[in-house]
Symmetry: D2
Subunit: 437 residues, 4 copies
Amino acid sequence: MDIYEQITKMADEMSGDLTTQRRDFHKFAEKGWFEMRTSSIIARRLTDMGFDEVLVGDQVCKKEARMGVPSDEELEAQYERAVAQGADPEFVPFTKGGMTGVVGILHCGEGPTVAMRFDIDALGVIEEKDASHRPANEGFGSVNEGFMHACGHDGHATIGLGVAKVLMSIRESLHGTVKLIFQPAEEGVRGAKAIVENGHLDGVNYLIGSHVSDKDAADPAAVIPGSYGSLATSKYDVTFRGLSAHAGGSPELGKNVMLAVATSILNLYAIPRHSGGISRINVGTVAAGSGRNVIADEAHMEIEVRGETTEVNKFVEDYALSILENSAKMHGCTCETKLMGAAYSLASDEALINRIKTVCEEHLHLPVAKEINSKNGGSEDVSYMMRRVQEQGGQATFMRVLTKESAPGHNRRFDFDEQVLPNAVKIFCGTVYDIMK
Amino acid sequence: MDIYEQITKMADEMSGDLTTQRRDFHKFAEKGWFEMRTSSIIARRLTDMGFDEVLVGDQVCKKEARMGVPSDEELEAQYERAVAQGADPEFVPFTKGGMTGVVGILHCGEGPTVAMRFDIDALGVIEEKDASHRPANEGFGSVNEGFMHACGHDGHATIGLGVAKVLMSIRESLHGTVKLIFQPAEEGVRGAKAIVENGHLDGVNYLIGSHVSDKDAADPAAVIPGSYGSLATSKYDVTFRGLSAHAGGSPELGKNVMLAVATSILNLYAIPRHSGGISRINVGTVAAGSGRNVIADEAHMEIEVRGETTEVNKFVEDYALSILENSAKMHGCTCETKLMGAAYSLASDEALINRIKTVCEEHLHLPVAKEINSKNGGSEDVSYMMRRVQEQGGQATFMRVLTKESAPGHNRRFDFDEQVLPNAVKIFCGTVYDIMK
Amino acid sequence: MDIYEQITKMADEMSGDLTTQRRDFHKFAEKGWFEMRTSSIIARRLTDMGFDEVLVGDQVCKKEARMGVPSDEELEAQYERAVAQGADPEFVPFTKGGMTGVVGILHCGEGPTVAMRFDIDALGVIEEKDASHRPANEGFGSVNEGFMHACGHDGHATIGLGVAKVLMSIRESLHGTVKLIFQPAEEGVRGAKAIVENGHLDGVNYLIGSHVSDKDAADPAAVIPGSYGSLATSKYDVTFRGLSAHAGGSPELGKNVMLAVATSILNLYAIPRHSGGISRINVGTVAAGSGRNVIADEAHMEIEVRGETTEVNKFVEDYALSILENSAKMHGCTCETKLMGAAYSLASDEALINRIKTVCEEHLHLPVAKEINSKNGGSEDVSYMMRRVQEQGGQATFMRVLTKESAPGHNRRFDFDEQVLPNAVKIFCGTVYDIMK
Amino acid sequence: MDIYEQITKMADEMSGDLTTQRRDFHKFAEKGWFEMRTSSIIARRLTDMGFDEVLVGDQVCKKEARMGVPSDEELEAQYERAVAQGADPEFVPFTKGGMTGVVGILHCGEGPTVAMRFDIDALGVIEEKDASHRPANEGFGSVNEGFMHACGHDGHATIGLGVAKVLMSIRESLHGTVKLIFQPAEEGVRGAKAIVENGHLDGVNYLIGSHVSDKDAADPAAVIPGSYGSLATSKYDVTFRGLSAHAGGSPELGKNVMLAVATSILNLYAIPRHSGGISRINVGTVAAGSGRNVIADEAHMEIEVRGETTEVNKFVEDYALSILENSAKMHGCTCETKLMGAAYSLASDEALINRIKTVCEEHLHLPVAKEINSKNGGSEDVSYMMRRVQEQGGQATFMRVLTKESAPGHNRRFDFDEQVLPNAVKIFCGTVYDIMK
């Protein structure tokens, strides 16, 4: 029995455990920067397996590089919740204040460094409670009202633990370094940058990420080995501050943020189209003013820009910042912008894509999709990690692991066929072995 | 002792009672459309005095003509509060759902109809609790957190009851009809129109309203018999509705209210200045959108316009409505506007002003201010009632009854010298007698 | 000698005549709707060759469907110029008022109708006079200052006449109907629609258009048989009308087009990006107002929209018209829009492309470019004609006939290698014969 | 015969000469900075009368402080015209380049300095040629097509010369200094500042200006001795510069002034109303862009602001400049603003008003209007001079000399009853004598 067969056998055997673990994560869904219970359990498992290094707390994310972090009050409340819901007592204290995420490292002598990324956060969605929704029916629906694993990251975290266990058992056959990155706050593209800025992708030769993806039940394909496209994006929270005054009595004494808001909205949408590719801009929310007869002195907006390439995104982003600043100045107001999320556009490396295809077809006997490099619609912050690896001459890919889904991602009725869990474990481990053997 | 002397004597004697009554109203301050306890007590008193007619509930305000009415939930909660705070059990049921206000009528045979208006609502202000604030120190600070009589309407309601008592006692000397209007929701200029639309000002020959007004402690003047100016105003709540879409995936499928909002804000402020007098426009608050990456499909704005004359106000109002409608249409959205308050500009009649001056100086021996017709800064919805009376050939005035105030109106430290209460009773009653004798 | 060889021989022999004709057209360059001399000469030549039908004047373009027609004064002045420059006296009267263009028809019995389109107008460019520019050096530079054949339509018209002559000589071998369309005012995409609306494309089974296109001198390829892409476009002139008033004395009496202009500009650029493809919008020029202290009562704008598909273009166009209309209404102004040019996106039919490739390679021994269907950047109103033919089940293509150019199109130093003239005649005639043999 | 009687007699006797002089000025109307013939004739007359000092050229206006100066080409062409129309050969050379205006000084020993201001420029109006218009009928209609004395400054200049002559003849009775200021370019409020900046108002104790003003033919009043109000104003030419690009091919390469224009227009009109008084803003003209499919790289706007007080005007002006600058910056464009005219609000001194009233009624037997200080609607740059005098503790007034007018000012049919000329001479001289006697 060669190593590929060993991997396949182990993954199949742990199938039930994977399902159990996934359902536990699903039930105790935790939104970005709140993955305190999840992180503590991952750290516990890796430690118990005997990983050489298990990094937690500020060893994972650079504290000040995290984006879109909730308020201290919310973080504290969620910490208490996590503890009450059975977080591991040894590791959960490291997650205080939203310092979530785990990195597990296995040193296997000389050889390439292979990193894998598994995102672990849930969404702000209220899960369906009707019995027609399997998690509700089988008792693993989210008990955290308003948080739901509606995008499959419960599966991603579970796959990561499965990969950890299999690689541990074949470590003697591996040459180099294995790095498992359990990333918080992928939703809103808020977490990857903080991990990159802590240096975890420096020196990495190969990076593999993945996402569950819907398929026709009749289609045997188990994986699309690469992705490209997806829009680069930057997300900002904007605060305008002016000066209030009585709108009837002395309007001239005000510095009216309402005018700054309106001027910036129209001009933001009017940013030129770019010949270099698709661009997008959106002012998603605005809240301004305190009373009908008062000149408004404070306004908040949530905006985002996107670009087919990182350069197009940068063009729109820079233009937007100029509009915001000058819209404020024009009316004697100030403008503060805070980056709340960011991602680059995706580009998987052909060599790595082809390696995965070969491993699956020749060694794992898992069917590969016809189109081996598929276009990706949304934004993914694994792109931050991929770019860092590729800039250093490494190879990176973002795979789609295929499964039957019950509803589109982000929908309150989302669920997936758990067969994808052992499949994904095989693909990750088979590829890692192929690189490190 | 002539009737004027009788009035003076009675008013002076009821001074203590007036103070007690005012402090009760002050302690149980009720905001517009919540004056349920206040209304019930006024109706009780008028009934006990033997008024010919005491109108309550929908006999006062035309239900659907009320503006800026709170939600059913709030009205219900406030009703329960009012009951718990000692509202009169016979009359309070009529006030359910915000049907507040009272009209008391005295039929004294042939002769003119003289109406008086007393507004009774408090403001949404949190009252000062420091002992340096007399109501706090002497135990009559508002027990309804967030509601405060910071504009003296507790005094106005009290004066109305004092006037009722005095006129009752001299009814044999009066010829015609006396109508006392206790109006709800003057703040935000929301209540007068609903009373006018119920016909209460039809057939009225004389209308007198008043407001407490600050003076130098050393200044003996007790009254300014007339007012002019004050800006006509219209207040609107605006709702834009569009269609949401994913801002990255298919922005063209949205109908973006954000663009309607921005277009309307800039154009509203850009409405032409008017050669006919001062104009104002304000977009006080805006709230729009549901998420950063979603094309916004709903927006709410609170706006107001003002004009030195009713015509200037109308010009700005009509222009504003056109802007709102077309800003919505331009982007495939709809726009709904709801009038939340309105007032005309004020114009007191010279004949009535002079009559009050004469009555005060010659009969009541109360000093009158040098400037007998003063310019008024804010907006007052007694203007609605005055206009109706004046359109029919009647005379109307809005007096300033003078008193030492501890802070400006609408301030959390507002209080006033209660000597103004008997003074005002004398001026109202003396003038009514002068007309109806 | 087969017919293909005959065509080749005739085209090669008329090479010198083609050059002479092209240089005559070049020298007397005429901008869109001014091609009066050009049209009269084409009509003369076709008549002299014995064409069955030679349509001129309003038989070519539907008068009211012409777009971007100059003023009557300009048309009259240009008519006089054309007459003075040797226009054909029999035909030039039909071109009065800008009724330019010619259609020549050859009836060859039963069979398909094959139409060809040759555009004949020059640009508003001042031609280079330096001797380093061949037309200047060899004496055929434009004598009409400000008009220049800087886009090769002199060549296109010449090719059309060459095709006419060759087809005439082989008419016995043809079965069906040949239709040669000499189109005016292609620049600004203003002329094709008026020809389509006169029904000239109804019943056409095949349509071929072409454009000279630059190539590397060393590249032997003579033709790219098809084109796709190019942006659909619509071009509008916009007039806002309001009411003037003294800006200091009574601004409220005005209906200010300046506000309609500004509102529409910002909103036009803010039209949503489209997930269906590239879109563009531009407000190229604005002129408004009559004096500093006068509320502006008239404004003119020149705008254009583009879309990667006809549908995307339509989306932007419809949205733009809504913005213009409502920006005007909002301020009590009116808005008039006039379509000044329009084109669809291009899509050549694969079957016809392949036929041309085969004819060139197998029968004419002319090398074909590797990429047989090339993306087109600008806008082309042959797209109007192609769409009509394709809607009826016909086949259409827009070829690139390749030649060495001295400068980019629309440049004052533009010129091209005249060898392309006989080449193009061969390709057109060979293909027509292939279809109609 | 006292001096007042002497003044009256002389003025009456010169009546015919005044009419002749006025009609000469009317016939050869010259717009602002083109008053080359007019200035030369005034300088000639004052010199011939024997004035102590006759200042011309750059002794009058500070060259670089002149506002709204036409191009060198226009100035040169107008200079040639002036010479051809009989300008005085000695003085006209000083007016080259638009250095128009004259100051005449009479030193009469110790005593106050009394300055008078007479504006001399015509308007850009095409004069009525119909015989129903007296100047046309009697042969003194403007021969300078497009220039017309439609605001009576021909009369003002004439009055100044009449005053010069009378004061010369009574100089022995005067004590102090007389200064006659013949100001160019009052229309557009462009000239006064340049005279003030040359120091001509420094040390002046009294300043009197005047304007002809319409009256009822039956009304005997000859003068309103004072004016107040009139709006302070600032007039700017604005140029935006950006970068052009092909709107279809690479819109992102442009810096689009069209967006700067639209943003600034909406925001300019949206500048807050001011509680300190009336304000106005107008964007009178805009011209931008070079072609439909080109991103616009240059735009010109003519704007003006006004305020009831100089402070209100300054508020709007400063706000406007901030809007313009930031609208440009927002889009990577630059903005250049050039002050083209400016005036303060008017405030005549009561003491001087009363003095004129007394002089007219008691000494000149000229009836004075009931309202001796009238509100002024437009803008007047004599306000610049008045403010300088008043700042130094001097007295100033701007009188209305009353006459029957045939049409409103600035109308092509404007004319006035020339009886006003001797009347005004009397009032000026009587008042000067009263001050300096």
